[in-house]
Symmetry: C2
């Protein structure tokens, strides 16, 4: 884990952050954002492949993603890896450790990223004083639970084709919320990670993608996906069409 902030770190503030509308500041007033800004610890970059924290690390802080994509995963007893989610700018990382005080997941940067550290003790103290912040925090925690529930739905009920379609639809909406084009985006994760997350094999992801390609729904470039027919993919994701 990197120990130092970048030289420009002190110039970055929540008030100017590109993703403040998606992050804890959300609808907070200027004064409240300032107070939040003051408890933020280090704001630092992570290079692709670097670990934000590893599984088993003691919990001290939450991390807000300012830029980039992350992968969260667990290591099972048998040594196998389970990807529990992909995380984007504006999201909070580390919520799963609040209960036990230990990070149950490891989190790794899928590209060059930037995060803000939120020492949990300070955040808790601030939550006590600021009802609006408390509401936002509970909102984000609730969103994390809702997100997990939708993953359960995906893994419990869908076939491979529908799972992949669902992932594409979600990726599109994630990029849309961040102001990017929804019809062409970069999938930073490998098929390996993708398949792990979707609960199928690498080969299966590859085959399903090939099918989508043949049906003219997507165009695939290395590490990039162009969505040609989002409505059709949405139909597949909804399960109303095969």
């Amino acid at each position: 884990m990197p120990q130092d902030a970048t030289p420009t770190a002190s110039a970055i503030h929540c008030a100017d952050c590109a993703v403040r509308r998606l992050c804890l500041p959300m609808e907070l007033g200027t004064a409240d954002v300032d107070k939040l800004d003051r408890i933020v610890g280090r704001r630092f970059p992570l290079a692709q492949g670097e670990l934000l924290y590893r599984s088993g690390a003691p919990f001290a802080s939450l991390y807000a993603v300012r830029a980039g994509q992350f992968k969260a995963y667990r290591i099972n007893r048998d040594g196998s890896e389970q990807v529990t989610g992909f995380h984007f700018s504006g999201q909070l990382l580390g919520l799963d450790a609040i209960a036990s005080g230990v990070h149950s997941c490891a989190v790794v940067a899928l590209e060059d990223c930037a995060v803000c550290e939120l020492p949990f003790a300070d955040l808790e103290a601030l939550l006590a004083k600021m009802p609006a912040l408390r509401q936002q925090f509970h909102r984000m925690v609730g969103e994390e639970i809702a997100r997990m529930q939708s993953v359960v739905l995906l893994l419990g009920k869908m076939k491979a084709r529908q799972r992949l379609a669902t992932l594409i639809v979600r990726a599109a909406s994630v990029y849309e919320a961040r102001g990017y084009a929804i019809d062409k985006f970069q999938l930073r994760m490998t098929h390996e990670d993708l398949s792990n997350y979707l609960g199928v094999t690498r080969e299966c992801v590859s085959r399903q993608l090939t099918k989508f390609k043949q049906e003219g729904l997507v165009r695939v470039a290395p590490r990039e996906l162009e969505v040609l027919d989002l409505p059709a993919i949405k139909t597949i994701a909804a399960g109303t069409a095969p």
Copy 2:
């Protein structure tokens, strides 16, 4: 949803509750438990099959389970049901609605149950004033997230046999934490619900249970399960043995 508390409801307090060690009061001091006790709204029973709340209902309160078992489920667009979890005494229900303000799941009583209503606005106000309660609340929210993660793991990586073994192990630990025998317990849910939760078919659950029976690991009576060889089942659940 029932509208009236039982005649004896006013006599019930958190301080005397059988599951206070598992619920929000946990390690709180007497004074703090009293304050929590005062914001608890209705404490009421639910008959088997009654809905605590339905999907889409506006969120106003969390519910603490005082006694009994619940099933939480979603209805997909195509009308199918997805069981998202089973809930026991001491657990908080409704956390998934904090983000959106609307319950995304419905919750139904699998047997005669009793719950305590926690108006969320009141709880929030109390959280601001009581650091210890805040900590407990965050702990329980974190546990919910961790619980969901383990479901994701189950659905994403395990075969049917391992899933069922995992469910039995968890049920045993749930009953143990509540002071019941770990080797003989009642499964209030139908195979239908069980299979739905585990992401397999009814028939598959039945077949796997039959196998366990043949191997001398369990004995099955209607709606009841006797665990004969918990260590063996734990081994299966861990994935180290088939």
